[in-house]
């Protein structure tokens, strides 16, 4: 089971490139796509889900070009788009039965699967209620259920935890980790903690380009010894923000605990602290933008 992306790019109207020269190779596991809004994550996911064709480059699923022969991939694909709708007159069971028919699943197997999926996403009690009356979070859970209907080999989920309450979010993260053992899961989000909890590999994207593709441990190693924390009085925080790029500031009884990623300690009493994935993410992003600015200057 292998997904290979070779120099994929997507150009939109007005000669705007949403994605450019994107390459990576992924085997079973959870790949977390991290990047700011508009980085190109959704474009990449739509290409991989065969909804959009790339302008340049190619993507292969087990050696088959997905733009030329999309149905091989589609048979084993589960896709949860960022924005999707449901048919408001159908209830949860009817909607999932419809999606099961579209995905080519046997009725008896689909019914069993739907029961277990509805239990999994905690919608069993409201299974007979029309979807038009569902809240945003409940619709999101229906979206998750339909993505898992056909027991996909490739599961692509775009901002899946949006609208979920904390309990459901943790539950879904665990499900992704569980699924990632024997299939490829691609998870796009800008919530670093979601990726931190589940991903076995991380791709950092900004302005349509792949900045880094590595295991979380590798990304953390890159900023090892470069994350500093020190305490400053509340009143001095605005001045400190002017001077340093503070990645996090937590108010405690003894003052504000400010955190920066830097080669050298920002102040003499700053302590080196273990890096988080958020530190690594910000460092890569800053490094990339800094080098681009440097090149432009």
């Amino acid at each position: 089971m292998k997904l290979t992306i070779e120099g994929v790019g997507k150009r939109y109207k007005g000669n705007f490139w949403g994605l450019r020269e994107f390459s990576l190779e992924q085997g079973p596991g959870v790949l977390g796509l991290l990047g700011p809004n508009g980085a190109g994550k959704s474009t990449l996911m739509r290409i991989l889900a065969t909804i959009t064709k790339p302008t340049e480059g190619r993507a292969f699923w087990n050696g088959t070009d997905i733009a030329r022969s999309p149905n091989g991939l589609r048979s084993g694909l589960g896709y949860l788009p960022q924005d999707f709708g449901v048919y408001p007159n159908l209830n949860a069971v009817e909607f999932l039965e419809y999606m099961a028919a579209v995905k080519g699943l046997d009725t008896a197997a689909a019914r069993q699967r739907i029961d277990s999926l509805l239990a999994l996403v905690n919608l069993t009690e409201v299974r007979k209620r029309p979807l038009g009356g569902y809240s945003g979070g409940m619709k999101q859970r229906i979206g998750i259920a339909q993505a898992l209907l056909n027991d996909p080999q490739l599961l692509i989920v775009d901002e899946p935890t949006v609208g979920l309450d904390p309990e459901e979010r943790v539950r879904f993260r665990n499900l992704l980790s569980d699924l990632g053992g024997e299939r490829i899961v691609i998870l796009s989000t800008h919530i670093v903690s979601d990726v931190e909890a589940t991903a076995t590999g991380i791709a950092l994207i900004d302005q349509g380009r792949l900045l880094a593709y590595a295991a979380p441990e590798e990304l953390l190693r890159r900023v090892e010894g470069k994350v500093w924390e020190w305490v400053i009085p509340s009143a001095e925080l605005p001045a400190a923000r002017e001077k340093w790029k503070i990645s996090n500031a937590i108010r405690r009884a003894d003052g504000v605990h400010a955190r920066v990623v830097s080669e050298r300690p920002p102040v003499a009493d700053a302590k080196s602290v273990p890096p988080s994935l958020e530190d690594a993410y910000l460092a890569v992003l800053e490094g990339s933008r800094g080098s681009r600015l440097g090149m432009a200057a």
Binding site: R46, K53, Y87, M99, L120
Partner: protein
């Protein structure tokens, strides 16, 4: 002052959002086509077998009447989507939280609708110049006689259409396809009444009186004959010189009254407008508020004491490989359920009544029963090919395997079965009586309708185009017994003339068009 500013920006933003869409270019294109039809003499205005020579006054009047007769009907469908867009994009939710009043909102939307309709009027007014030059009977352009009819007749009529479009969008049962059908019948039913009166929105009654007097002056006598539309070139009209309308106080007052009525309709729309409160529209009718609150409560489970709960082991059993077997019947069953879900008992009751009527009525009755049978499910057919775009399920459905080979045929077949079942009364009667040519025409009708719906739905992404075009076709063809447009075999003379074969060819062409449209949706993005 700030209210006026808010109103201006509300109207401006809405107008700009519309004119920057490709659909607006298509709308203007249609206006140009209508103007061209006048310029080339395909659309004419005759009174008592006479017409005016094509000077500025006559062309201006002709164009104004064309605008009011055709744009009033079609323009309604062009503009009846402004509240829906705010609802769909979520902008409405934001606007609802501002201090803006409901009256200001509906007024802004009416003015934006009016601006779009007046853009079409402006295009047609410019085309009037082209029409006058092309006719070459009097090429001297006089601005006031040319433009006054558009200004005095069209602006109030368009204001009325703009206000009605907003009103329909504020009434839950009129904001969808049913409202589109209602407007069609309201308009077509009111037109003959308008010609006889003086307060008709189109102005035909007012024009008719003065034109008849002019014909009487020119030829000594005049009949009541009055035609606005397509007249064959084989017929020749007497010509007279029309110097323009006498803009009497009565005319100006009646047009001002229409503007006042449009304003009153806008105020009524403000009263009915739900201010994007979901519980006042969807929730109240379709599900109980208790259910909705209960569902929402489940969503609001807080992190206990600010701590995210401990992870719970979650596992999903693998799906057996043999369960991955596509069965077309299951897909068809799912599509049929999607098509019919949400229909009330009385819908089925009326459909059943029409089936029985089709079985029992004699030959003559078929002319009425068959068209009625196949207008009843129009709102179901109009969903074919559009549901994926309308409900944003395209990402889910189109990422499944072979959507063109599996899902699209099932969608079409569901529509075809609906046509067969709803029209079964007439179909069975034709078979019992052995009228095979008519039965064949009936079958072609059943094939044509879902194919037509699917093709228009796939290409437009909206159910509105089919609803409107099908209504026109159904009204002019089968219902008014226009032979070439009888696509269902309701007119015996059309069946004898072999017209159904033309519709069979059209069905095949539309089928290819529909498949090409879906292929484009799947591959061309």
């Amino acid at each position: 002052m700030s209210q006026a500013r808010a109103l201006y920006h509300l109207m401006r933003a809405d107008f700009l959002e519309r004119v920057r869409r490709y659909s607006f270019l298509i709308t203007l294109g249609l206006a140009v086509w209508l103007g061209w039809a006048v310029s080339t003499g395909k659309l004419k205005l005759w009174i008592s077998d006479s017409r005016g020579i094509y000077n500025s006054a006559w062309v201006g009047l002709l164009m104004a009447m064309v605008v009011n007769a055709f744009v009033s009907l079609a323009g309604f469908y062009v503009v009846k989507n402004t509240l829906e867009r705010d609802r769909r994009t979520g902008v409405g939710q934001i606007l609802a939280t501002t201090p803006m009043s409901k009256t200001l909102y509906t007024l802004g939307k009416t003015l934006s609708n009016l601006a779009v309709l007046l853009a079409m009027v402006a295009v047609l007014a410019m085309m009037a110049v082209v029409a006058q030059w092309m006719a070459g009977e009097d090429t001297h352009i006089q601005l006031w006689p040319l433009l006054a009819p558009s200004l005095i007749f069209c602006v109030p009529a368009m204001a009325l259409v703009a206000a009605f479009a907003v009103l329909f969008e504020t009434i839950p049962f009129l904001k969808g396809g049913f409202g589109n059908v209602v407007w069609f019948f309201l308009f077509t039913a009111s037109m003959p009444l308008g010609i006889k009166g003086t307060h008709d929105p189109i102005g035909l009654g007012l024009v008719r009186t003065q034109l008849k007097a002019a014909v009487q002056r020119a030829f000594g006598s005049a009949t009541d004959g009055f035609v606005l539309g397509a007249i064959g070139n084989e017929r020749q009209a007497r010509t007279f010189r029309w110097e323009g309308m006498d803009w009497t106080r009565e005319i100006l007052l009646s047009r001002l009254t229409l503007l006042t009525i449009a304003f009153a309709i806008t105020l009524l729309a403000a009263l009915l407008f739900d201010r994007f409160d979901v519980s006042r529209s969807w929730g109240r009718r379709r599900s109980s508020s208790r259910d909705f609150v209960a569902a929402s409560d489940r969503e609001l489970v807080p992190a206990r004491n600010g701590v995210v709960p401990e992870p719970v082991p979650v596992h999903l059993q693998p799906l057996p490989a043999e369960s991955r077997r596509f069965r077309f019947f299951e897909m068809l069953h799912a599509e049929l359920r999607l098509l019919l879900k949400g229909q009330r008992w009385w819908w089925y009751g009326i459909a059943a009544g029409l089936i029985v009527a089709g079985l029992l009525v004699p030959e003559e009755g078929r002319k009425i029963v068959l068209p009625l049978t196949w207008i009843w499910p129009v709102l179901l057919w109009s969903s074919l090919g559009t549901r994926e775009a309308r409900f944003a399920t395209d990402g889910l459905v189109f990422s499944a395997a072979w959507p063109l080979r599996r899902q699209l045929p099932a969608t079409w077949l569901a529509g075809f079965l609906l046509a067969l079942v709803t029209g079964s009364g007439v179909g069975l009667r034709l078979a019992f009586t052995g009228d095979w040519p008519a039965a064949g025409a009936w079958l072609i009708g059943a094939l044509f309708i879902p194919t037509f719906a699917l093709a228009l739905g796939v290409w437009s992404g909206s159910s509105k185009l089919f609803e409107v075009v099908y209504l026109f076709l159904w009204y002019i063809g089968p219902l008014n017994q226009t032979r070439p447009l009888d696509f269902m075999g309701a007119v015996p003379a059309a069946v004898q003339a072999g017209i159904p074969l033309v519709w069979l060819a059209a069905t095949v062409a539309l089928g290819i068009t529909g498949v090409a449209g879906r292929w484009r949706q799947l591959a061309g993005r």
